[in-house]
């Protein structure tokens, strides 16, 4: 069931409790728990089909879960930008914001002051008369975020605000996101960029509808099982399946104990087993890659892979 909560008081939080969503036979979200707190930025990370959009639509009240509970503020206290910016392409920048202000009952004077300020800060003040459909991708995304936060929502939900956006627009978008959080909103954003997730206060990693990891970036990194080593070449044999390329070298994940077995096994892979001097401290990108890899290896046991 969905429970629009009372107005945001101290200690309040929004999120999902044991939420499942089904599309036909497919389980798009599988018992997902998630918590977004006021004044904090939460990043929902995952690849194509991970369930990020589905979770965000639940939080925004656009989709009802099959089971579990969504905690969200009243509709008027939620701001939502769907993937692809959600602005009207055949309205101008100013008209889009005026429409949004009316729909969310922002007093006209307040709406025009806040619009002008946010547009100026995001570099959109000179394109007020331009149709949203004629803006560049980065500009359109910035307009989408401004429209979603115009009415100062308690919960701001942004679906991939920065995908495909250049670094300068990305900086502007992050300024808007920080501004909303500094104003007390709980901000939830979906992203496929791990460096961006590392900037958020809290991170939720989804894969195929299930939670792979959750917590602060530091907690997720600390909880990564096993160790990580760096080699120049991809290791041969079984270890090669646990290796991936990063920055011109190979990261090799050793789930605790596994490589001990490898090292005593005869064969060429023993020669490339990395020494302890090559152990690296993982970052969030490493920890998330390990989580995805571990799941993939569990699904496709050794010797049965298709490649």
């Amino acid at each position: 069931m969905t429970a629009p909560g009372a107005a945001g008081s101290a200690g309040d939080w929004w999120g999902a409790e044991d939420v499942c969503v089904r599309f036909g036979d497919a389980l798009a979200l599988d018992h997902v728990w998630f918590r977004a707190e006021p004044g904090r930025v939460s990043a929902v990370v995952g690849g194509d089909g991970a369930g990020r959009t589905t979770l965000l639509r639940c939080l925004a009240g656009a989709l009802a879960p099959a089971s579990g509970r969504v905690r969200r503020p009243a509709r008027m206290a939620t701001g939502y930008m769907s993937a692809g910016s959600g602005v009207y392409p055949d309205l101008s920048v100013t008209e889009n914001l005026a429409f949004r202000a009316t729909a969310y009952r922002v007093p006209p004077q307040q709406a025009s002051e806040r619009s002008a300020e946010l547009l100026a800060r995001a570099g959109l003040d000179r394109v007020g008369d331009r149709l949203a459909g004629q803006l560049s991708g980065g500009m359109r995304q910035k307009l989408g975020v401004i429209a979603a936060m115009l009415h100062r929502p308690d919960l701001l939900v942004l679906d991939e605000p920065t995908t495909g956006v250049d670094p300068v627009s990305r900086a502007d978008l992050w300024w808007l996101i920080a501004r909303a959080a500094a104003g007390g909103a709980a901000v939830v954003l979906a992203t496929s960029y791990l460096d961006e997730a590392e900037r958020a206060h809290d991170v939720l990693v989804l894969d195929a509808g299930t939670v792979l990891a959750t917590g602060t970036a530091e907690q997720i990194v600390a909880a990564m099982p096993g160790t990580l080593t760096v080699t120049r070449e991809r290791p041969a044999g079984e270890a090669g399946r646990r290796a991936w390329r990063r920055e011109g070298r190979w990261r090799v994940w050793d789930p605790a104990g596994l490589d001990t077995a490898d090292a005593v096994a005869p064969g060429p892979q023993a020669a490339v087993t990395p020494g302890p001097q090559d152990v690296v401290a993982p970052d969030l990108q490493d920890a998330v890659t390990v989580a995805i890899l571990a799941r993939e290896l569990a699904l496709v046991p050794a010797g049965q892979e298709s490649r």
Binding site: R121, P167, A182, E247, G248, S306, R307
Partner: protein
């Protein structure tokens, strides 16, 4: 062996009065991966279109494998555009067959590799984005190109899938191809042997990530309340970025940041800039900021 897969010499391209690419020199050597970085409007896409022979330069010269772009040189290029360039209403196998035929290759170039085999009969538009991306790479590499041009190849994929795409790119380079790749994702700069940064149509920096970042430093603020510090720095007109609970301020020395914070309790230190922060400075100082004209100090 000394022929350069791609070379631009003082290349300029104007559209009316607008100069999209201005006196650009660029080289892609065999076996190297060159990353082309730039904000929207920097001229990256125009430069790629010039290199592919889809546009003619207004001035300067483009040479592919030592000669001007032609149908002959196009055959030696593999290209993955931003939109992937697959036909949505053909099956995956039909897409690969069509591309192989267009390059004058035999049926072996149209073979569907094992990881994609289960999708071979599916209409491409209905496939997950990750599968489409792998198919576009397969198509671009099937005729063993000597120059591979990739326009934002990894947008929107998970980190493991991204690592695997880079593995493919590195494999092509190891086999001798020159690779030119654009990305908005600065973490991927580490996958490139060399970077070229464009802003306002010009090359503003080139070298490795470390060379480009150099000894640029930024200010870092750790405050009791990041939100209050954010408000104070913003009011002072400083370009402040939130990273976790710390604030990073490029282009402003610690004492200026300290003054802007007034009597707010906060520690202000200086730290090396990231490549993204350095990129940001280069782009702003070039005067190229889409929409922005006089916003930042």
């Amino acid at each position: 062996m000394t022929e350069l897969p791609a070379q631009a010499v003082a290349v300029t391209r104007a559209f009316g009065h607008f100069v999209a690419v201005d006196q650009v020199d660029l080289e892609v050597r065999p076996g190297e991966v060159v990353g082309l970085l730039g904000a929207n409007g920097a001229g990256k896409t125009t430069l790629i279109r010039l290199l592919l022979g889809l546009l003619r330069p207004s001035g300067g010269e483009i040479r592919l494998f030592g000669e001007p772009p032609s149908r002959h040189t196009r055959r030696r290029i593999g290209y993955v555009p931003q939109g992937l360039g697959l036909y949505d209403d053909l099956t995956l196998a039909e897409n690969l067959a069509f591309s192989a035929a267009a390059y004058g290759e035999g049926p072996e170039a149209a073979a569907v590799p094992a990881p994609l085999r289960r999708y071979r009969g599916t209409v491409t538009g209905a496939l997950p984005l990750g599968v489409q991306r792998t198919a576009a790479f397969t198509e671009a590499l099937a005729h063993r190109p000597d120059l591979l041009v990739l326009d934002e190849p990894t947008s929107g994929v998970d980190p493991l899938a991204r690592a695997r795409l880079w593995e493919t790119v590195a494999g092509a380079a190891a086999a001798g191809a020159g690779v030119l790749v654009t990305t908005h994702y600065m973490d991927e700069a580490g996958e490139c042997d060399r970077l070229v940064i464009m802003a306002a149509g010009r090359v503003v920096a080139r070298g490795t990530a470390r060379e480009i970042t150099g000894d640029t430093r930024i200010s870092v603020v750790e405050a009791g309340s990041w939100a209050a510090a954010f408000g104070a720095l913003e009011a002072a007109g400083l370009p402040v970025a939130l990273v976790g609970r710390t604030l990073r301020v490029p282009g402003a020395p610690p004492d200026a940041v300290r003054r802007a914070l007034g009597d707010l309790p906060a520690a202000v230190t200086s730290a090396p800039a990231t490549l993204e922060e350095r990129f940001f400075e280069l782009t702003l100082s070039s005067g190229q900021t889409e929409g922005h004209h006089d916003r930042r100090p």
